[in-house]
């Protein structure tokens, strides 16, 4: 389909045809494996998940409770994919996937869910609600009904190699600038930003937002890597840790985007893929990409958070917490923590990097989503709702009395920065690398051997 047609069809469920519905159902069916089928048979509609959802908590709108999202998916599953579904529909609420249902799916699955998984964790049964929501989103992909802004982010990544469409030349110039800044900062004219080095210990990949808007966070990471005397490299071609196919539900695009990093790893023969501070980038590349690509990578995939924690444990970097005197709290990105399993390393780092670290409550895998995940930051259509849903996070932050919020995720940082303005929190929002770089003691005895 031509791009123009794509745009015209975007979010216009009234143009959905019967053939389109059939195709969407085929996709929906293909996304339901035995685990999701079990989930769809398990929901008892107890409604206890409602208060685990930041959308429901912030708005009090029962249309946003997770059980309703499940109910909408269950209705279609029962009508179309269960032999007795139509017959028992007066009993079980089975419903046909038609234009009205498609509209409800768009509004509910895209418009009031960040796929953060908090409802799954707190479901009395344990339904995989975020994965169910993604299965519904996948069906909408086949109808070309992904909200246009999110679709555009995916398309840009597919077409241009990164989600912001940053040209290679611009990336290389930014890397050059970072190198010069690094040399000044560390007082070492030999300090380098390695590009396309082969056989190094790891390939480090970044969020394109850093290149475009936050190069100082890249500089911070470069400073840490310099101090650790690590052998690493950037890639000149592949500089996007994000994968919005995770959020749009488009496995084809997701596999293509993830495959590029995989190919780059093979080309550079790097020992490890290290992912920049990006929650969904971690979930996508560490956990989902092997499934999308149907392969188990030979290399290890780690978050930079874990790498920095290891530097500290191995004595390869030294930090002075007094250099970060303000009270600091930590936001746990859902895709990194609850869905990713990186839970304690960021805490270990902060306890060494700042003088006054305070947890927000709840935290770790029970932490509330900031509201920026699930592609919400891309979907300006739902921006008002996103900011409203972020109220829960804003209240969490305010209760800590912290002056700095650390978030090891650029998506979260964007949302937290907006919440900072919206709710007048008066905090600074920083990446973990920035806080660590601020505390870094250069020239300290870090003679312990690297692995």
């Amino acid at each position: 389909m031509a791009d123009k047609d794509k745009q015209q069809h975007a979010a216009q469920p009234e143009r959905v045809t019967e053939a389109g519905i059939t195709s969407a159902l085929d996709v929906f069916r293909s996304k339901i494996d035995h685990r999701l089928a079990a989930s769809l048979n398990s929901c008892v509609h107890c409604g206890l998940c409602a208060e685990s959802c930041h959308y429901y908590l912030a708005t009090g709108n029962p249309d946003m409770q997770p059980a309703l999202k499940v109910k909408l998916l269950q209705a279609v599953y029962r009508w179309h994919l269960v032999a007795t579904g139509k017959l028992l529909s007066p009993l079980t609420g089975a419903e046909r996937l038609d234009q009205a249902m498609v509209q409800r799916w768009i509004d509910t699955l895209f418009g009031s869910c960040t796929m953060c998984g908090r409802c799954t964790l707190n479901c009395t049964v344990g339904l995989d609600i975020s994965r169910l929501v993604r299965a519904g989103r996948s069906a909408l992909v086949s109808l070309n009904l992904v909200p246009s802004e999110l679709q555009s982010t995916v398309d840009t990544a597919v077409d241009k190699g990164n989600n912001m469409g940053i040209a290679k030349q611009e990336w290389l110039e930014t890397a050059q600038w970072i190198e010069e800044e690094l040399q000044q900062e560390v007082g070492d004219p030999e300090a380098r930003i390695p590009i396309d080095q082969e056989d190094v210990r790891f390939l480090y990949t970044v969020n394109p937002r850093e290149i475009k808007f936050f190069p100082l966070s890249l500089l911070a990471t470069a400073k840490i890597l310099y101090a650790s005397d690590e052998r690493w490299t950037f890639s000149s071609d592949c500089y996007d840790v994000t994968n919005y196919g995770l959020f749009s539900g488009d496995d084809g695009a997701a596999a293509l985007i993830a495959g590029r990093l995989h190919e780059t790893m093979g080309r550079l023969r790097a020992g490890m893929l290290v992912l920049g501070e990006c929650g969904h980038g971690y979930n996508a590349n560490r956990w989902e990409a092997p499934e999308w690509m149907a392969t188990t990578p030979e290399y290890e995939t780690r978050s930079i958070v874990r790498v920095i924690a290891d530097f500290l444990r191995q004595g390869r970097i030294k930090l002075d917490p007094a250099r970060n005197a303000k009270r600091v709290t930590l936001h746990d990105p859902c895709n990194l923590v609850r869905l990713g399993g990186v839970i304690e390393d960021q805490r270990f780092i902060l306890k060494h990097a700042v003088a006054d670290f305070v947890e927000m409550y709840p935290n770790r895998e029970q932490n509330f989503c900031c509201g920026g995940g699930g592609g919400q930051l891309s979907m300006t259509t739902f921006a008002k709702r996103r900011l409203e849903a972020g109220k829960i996070k804003a209240e969490q932050i305010a209760r800590t009395g912290a002056k700095v919020v650390v978030a090891p995720c650029h998506n979260c940082i964007d949302q937290l920065s907006e919440l900072n303005k919206e709710y007048k929190l008066g905090v600074e929002v920083k990446t973990l690398s920035e806080v660590v770089a601020d505390a870094l003691v250069l020239g300290a005895d870090t003679s312990k051997q690297r692995p």
Binding site: L48, L68, D128, E291, I343
Partner: protein
């Protein structure tokens, strides 16, 4: 053949039907396919499953439960009433005598379970939030189970209600695979999957907390 004997046979037949139907439903769910897992695990799926079925079931481990203790307790009591009624049904069908102690337990637990079930039904009907997520099956399943509990209680008090109890049991077993009561099987299935997922990703059992 006496009506009570016929009813006992009907209960056994209905139970067998329910078992077969639930097995078919489980097979149907399995037929959706098991995808190979390519991502290397970081934690232990086994530990995750153990956590999901034991510690993870404790009220303070689930915010949804901790925040709704009355509903959670009502649910527990409701299910306790159901299990005891099923035990009582088993004894009745196979003409075994329930002891004095069991009778006393039934005399308390079943009505408490019944009241809890009715309470949950009232909550579902009166709350807009609950009505939005409900389908007719939610109410019908509750009413069928409530009738089963009510009849069990009546039969525990007087043998005159034995046949009524057996009839409600037949209805319960016949209805079981049609609606939400199928969660008697799928709860364990989903919980298992839940434990494997979060266990493999190292999310729980709760991670190594650093002091």
């Amino acid at each position: 053949m006496l009506p009570s004997t016929l009813l006992r046979a009907a209960v056994i037949a209905a139970f067998a039907y329910a078992l077969v139907a639930l097995a078919v439903l489980t097979a149907r769910a399995l037929s959706f396919g098991k995808r190979p897992v390519y991502a290397r695990p970081e934690g232990s799926a086994r530990q995750g499953v153990l956590h999901a079925f034991f510690r993870g079931m404790l009220p303070w481990e689930k915010e949804s439960v901790a925040g709704h203790l009355p509903t959670f307790i009502a649910g527990l009591l409701y299910h306790a009433g159901v299990f005891l009624s099923l035990l009582f049904l088993f004894l009745l069908v196979f003409r075994m005598r329930s002891g004095i102690v069991l009778n006393q337990v039934l005399g308390v637990a079943i009505p408490v379970g019944l009241v809890s079930g009715l309470g949950l039904l009232i909550k579902r009907v009166t709350s807009r939030k609950m009505r939005l997520i409900s389908v007719p099956d939610d109410a019908i399943a509750n009413v069928i189970v409530d009738l089963f509990l009510g009849a069990a209680y009546a039969a525990a008090i007087s043998p005159a209600f034995d046949n009524a109890f057996l009839v409600t049991a037949v209805v319960l077993f016949l209805y079981m695979p049609l609606g939400k009561i199928r969660h008697c099987v799928f709860f364990f299935y989903t919980r298992l999957v839940f434990g494997v997922f979060f266990g493999s990703r190292g999310v729980f059992p709760h991670p190594r907390r650093e002091s």
